[in-house]
Amino acid sequence: MEGLRNGFKQLIKYPSALIGLILIALLVLTSILTVIFIPRNEAIRLWRGGEAIWGHNPKTAPPAWTNIFRSKKLPETILLNPSSPNVESQVSERATGEALLVTYAFDYTADEAPQDIVFNFSASFKSRNPFVSIFWITPDGREIRLIEQGINYNTTYRVVQDTKLQRRLGGLSPEIGLFDNPETEAVDVLKGTYQIVIDGISFEEGSQITRSDVVLHGKVHGLFGTDNQRRDLTIAILWGTPIALAFGLVASFGTSIFSMIFAAIGVWFGGWVDELIQRITEISINMPLLSILIMIGTFYSRSIWVILVVTVALNIFSGAIKSYRAIFLQVKEAPYIEAAKTYGASSGRIIFSYMIPRVTPLLIPGLVLGVPTFVFLEATLAALNLGDPVLPTWGKVIYDAWQTGGAVYNGFYYWILEPAALLIVTGLAFAMVGFAMDRVFNPRLRDI
């Protein structure tokens, strides 16, 4: 224990180790907070819930903070519904049915038009559909009629798809045309207070328009942006942290511990046991580990826990067992082991209480250095679309971005760079600490 404390004191003298430890602490903190505030089921619901959860988000929008570096500020999503500020809503009874007049007012300050403008209507009626008219009033007082049409129980009107409106706006795509400043030649946004007036009438007793919301999809979104299914990447980025850490740490820890136990058993018993372990190691080195994992992922189970167990099982008899063996061969000759033997300690006691604790300091650097390997292994499998079927992970975000979203070709760089940056930060943090530990605990390297 004293040795470990001294080791730690020496360790934090290395600036890279200190940075690495701080980064690891931040990642662990993020993981804990994520798991507490977004429990697993909630995360799965938010990531797989469907349109109802992310329908209001824009498509492939970069993070909102990227606006700091842009000369032309991109709009954020504006949600307009009866509970938002600057709404006037009035309902008046008619002879049969009722009349609804909603006026939404909002300030528009971005330099670009939104991605889309979507109107959602819900209505209750028996046989005659209610009717709505929508008017768009610009800051300079022009009034543009959008639609005048009957609505169904649920009707969605997307301005982007309105080709008639496009023609009336002089060929400009409608969502751009509605914000265009007519005073200037170029296509630019007229800033100021816009108004949307929704005028609805229903024609039956008890029939009414129950919902009339507007969503102006922005071009930037939240802390991490959205993907091509409009999902908020925050969920995947945050939840990727505990998964990556858990996988990396458990796999590395499991592999090292078991390798060490087998190496110690081989050395202690010697003879055919040692021979067998060495032969298994040689065979194991010849087995294509990643391909076998891929095969298991394809044929049997993509569950991250199954993959984790298989990873550990396949990695026990790797090159590392050879170096542990060399160390144990020296330990076995030590006088205190001789002493234990003379007073009649059992083999199990000697292996687990005397041999393994002795080399534990040597195990720690390898253990820490192994973490990035396994973190990236999980990412590699996920990037091959063999990731866990339900949980969001960084590797899966990379797969989505690269394979299904065409992020590179379409310029959605944030979508790849965010998970990639977190992967490299995690990998570097553990690698920096591991390298420094190697120098602290491995006396031959200390002066070099």
Binding site: S16, R279, E282, I283, I285, N286, M287, P288, L289, L290, S291, I292, I294, M295, I296, T298, F299, Y300, G319, A320, K322, S323, R325, A326, I327, L362, G366, L369, G370, P372, T373, F376, A379, T380, A383, L384, N385, L386, I398, V408, Y409, G411, Y413, I416, L417, A420, L423, I424, G427, L428, F430, A431, M432, G434, F435, D438, N442, R444, L445, I448
Partner: protein, 380 residues
Amino acid sequence: MSVDVTSLEAQPGAPQEQVTKKGSGRASTLVRVTKYTAVKTITLFISVVIAVYLTILIANMGGYVDQIVRGQIREFIGQQLRANQEYQLMDPAEKNAFFLSQVERAEKRYGLDRPFAVRSLAFLWNAIRMDFGTAQLMSSDTGSRQVSLIILDRLGPTLLLLGASNLILFFVSIGLALALSRSYGNIWDKLIIAFSPTSSAPSWFYGLFLILLFAAVLKWLPFGGMIDSPPPRDQLGYALNVAKHLILPTAAIITSSIFISIYNWRTFFLIYSSEDYVEMAKAKGLGDRDIQNRYILRPTLPTIITSFALLVISLWTGLILTEGVFQWPGLGRTYITAIGLYDTPVIVAITIIYAYLLALTVFLLDFVYALVDPRVKIGD
């Protein structure tokens, strides 16, 4: 990907065991190298056979290898019967019954009614003979459904990529490691140490960044593939075009392992350059270059080669996704396609091929090891 520094010290001193009696001259050296190689080949072959057998066992846990054979039988009998006049005249129910009886007979002939242990050994024998059956959906460039032909088509590009990157990696790392071990502690040395943790990321990961930077943003190099479409007509143009496509994937592979290799080998050279005989050589007044080549590089080379072998092994399977990212038409990309199409025979076959390739790599490097290790050559 990170090769533990301590593992460098612990490579087995295997060659001594195979060395026979003392002798001198070229002939006995040849005998020794041959004998060493032969013993290595046999042990390696045995371990490969076991590795392949384990792969088959894993693949067949859900009965997938059986499914391959059953699929083949059905396809073959279907083809045979389609050409049969009498069969064509039967009514559908009769046709089906006849088909099934033929399938059952054939399954019996192939031994699918035999116990699993026997069957898996039969499949092992096929795998050793490189007979992987026919693919379910994929086909080779010439249109054949033979899995071995599909794999053969794709082996060339993979070997080109791995060969190019590993040769550069090996010589550049050794050169730089030697240079750094001579002037350790200077700014370059510190820089390499600072960069060595970056080797924890695999090559495909650096591939993403390189493509983003050089293909998407700067537009200097192609996004991927091996050749432009249409390919240049003259041979020189073709070669240059392939070379241009080779730059980014090679760079990705090299970036992912160069810093750790340099760091490990530099450390290793440093440990060796403090040995007494090096001090002695210095005291004798030998030149730096002589000391480096004869007293440091020579004794460390076998260990360096062993650690390089471990690196190449980790690169082999790491190549799968790198090829996928770069759309490089090699084994790895075929593997990814096969996973996407769920083409079982191809997936199992490529997994086995990877086991062979690993063994081949180990064998080649062992052979080089035998050539450079004086203990094998001179004996004793």
